[in-house]
Symmetry: C2
Subunit: 170 residues, 2 copies
C-alpha cells in the first residue's frame, strides 16, 4: 500500500516487515519506549526480534512504513483469541511513527492495513492498549471508532512472584 504526494509520487509505503528491517524495528521500539517513559523495560535485541518475527514459528508479525529516509514507522502485532466469540483477533502490541513524520497519515495507514488483515482473517476484534496520559493517541483512536474497555484492568505476574507461583508445592 502506498500514498501519493502532490507530485504523484509515493510518499510512503506500508509493507510487511522483512528480516532486513529488524534493526530499524528495534530502533523504533526504543524510540517508542522513550516516549512511553518505559525505556528501562527494554531488553530486546536484534537477534531476539529476528527469532520472534522470522523463525519457522513466528510469535508476532510486523508492518513497516518506508519513506524516502527509510523506515519511519512500524506496527507489531499478534493474534489473540476470544472465547466468547470463539474467534481470533488482532492485538497490536506497538505502533510508532517517528515525530518528524507525523501528520502524514502514516499511523492511520498502518492501522488501516491491520484492520484489513483482521477482516481478511475473519477476526472479530482489533485491540491494543494505550497509556492513560497519552491523550493525542486516545483522541486519534476514538476518532476511528475504537472504544475503551474502561471496566477491565490487566494484571501481570512477573519476576520473583511468577517464579514463586510456578514452584509452589501442590
Amino acid at each position: 500500500m502506498s500514498a501519493l504526494n502532490q507530485a504523484g509520487e509515493a510518499s510512503y509505503e506500508i509493507a510487511a516487515a522483512s528480516a532486513a528491517d529488524v534493526g530499524d524495528i528495534l530502533r523504533l521500539i526504543r524510540a517508542l519506549a522513550e516516549y512511553e517513559k518505559l525505556i528501562d523495560q527494554v531488553v530486546a535485541t536484534e537477534a531476539a526480534l529476528h527469532e520472534a518475527l522470522f523463525e519457522s514459528k513466528p510469535q508476532a508479525q510486523a508492518l513497516v512504513a518506508r519513506s524516502a529516509g527509510g523506515v519511519v514507522g512500524f506496527a507489531l502485532y499478534f493474534q489473540n483469541y476470544s472465547t466468547f466469540r470463539a474467534r481470533s483477533g488482532i492485538y497490536l502490541e506497538d505502533l510508532f511513527v517517528e515525530p518528524a513524520h507525523r501528520s502524514r497519515g502514516i499511523g492511520r495507514a498502518l492501522l488501516r492495513q491491520l484492520a484489513a488483515i483482521a477482516v481478511e482473517r475473519g477476526c472479530a476484534r482489533f485491540e491494543w492498549a494505550v497509556l492513560d496520559w497519552n491523550q493525542p493517541a486516545i483522541d486519534f483512536y476514538k476518532s476511528l471508532g475504537a472504544t475503551p474497555l474502561d471496566d477491565w484492568t490487566v494484571y501481570r505476574l512477573t519476576g520473583a512472584a511468577l517464579q514463586a507461583l510456578a514452584q509452589e508445592p501442590t
Copy 2:
C-alpha cells in the same frame, strides 16, 4: 497435577484439555459469561472451539480441572508477545471454577500450572484482564503478587467501525 484429600485420594486433577472436553469447556465459558454479565457476547460453538484448540495450528490452549463430578473448572490461554522484553508471555483469556467447587484450591492450581508453563517456555510475563467490580478475583490475584496495570486501557475496534477502517480508501 493432582491434589490429595484427607483420605489421601486425588480430589481433583489439572490436565491439558482434550478434544473430548470441548463440550464442558463451552458450558463453563457460558457460566463465566453469565457471572461477568456478558452472556449476550457469547456466540461460541463447540465446532469453533474445537477448531481453535485442536486443529493443526491451534489458536489457543486450555487446561481443565477434573473432579469426581467431571470437569469443574478451566483455564484458556494463548501466547502474547512483548517487544520491550522481546519474549513471549502467557495471556490467560478465561479462568473459571464452578461455584460449588470453589475454596478447594482449584483456581490457584490452574494458575500455578500456567505459571509453570510460562517459566518452562521462558516467558517473562503471565497476564490476564479482570473486571473492575470483581473484587474477590482482584483480592485473589493480588495475593499471588500480580500487579494491576492501572495506567493502561485497552481499546477495541469491532463491527462496523472495524469494517469501515479496513475499507477506507488509501
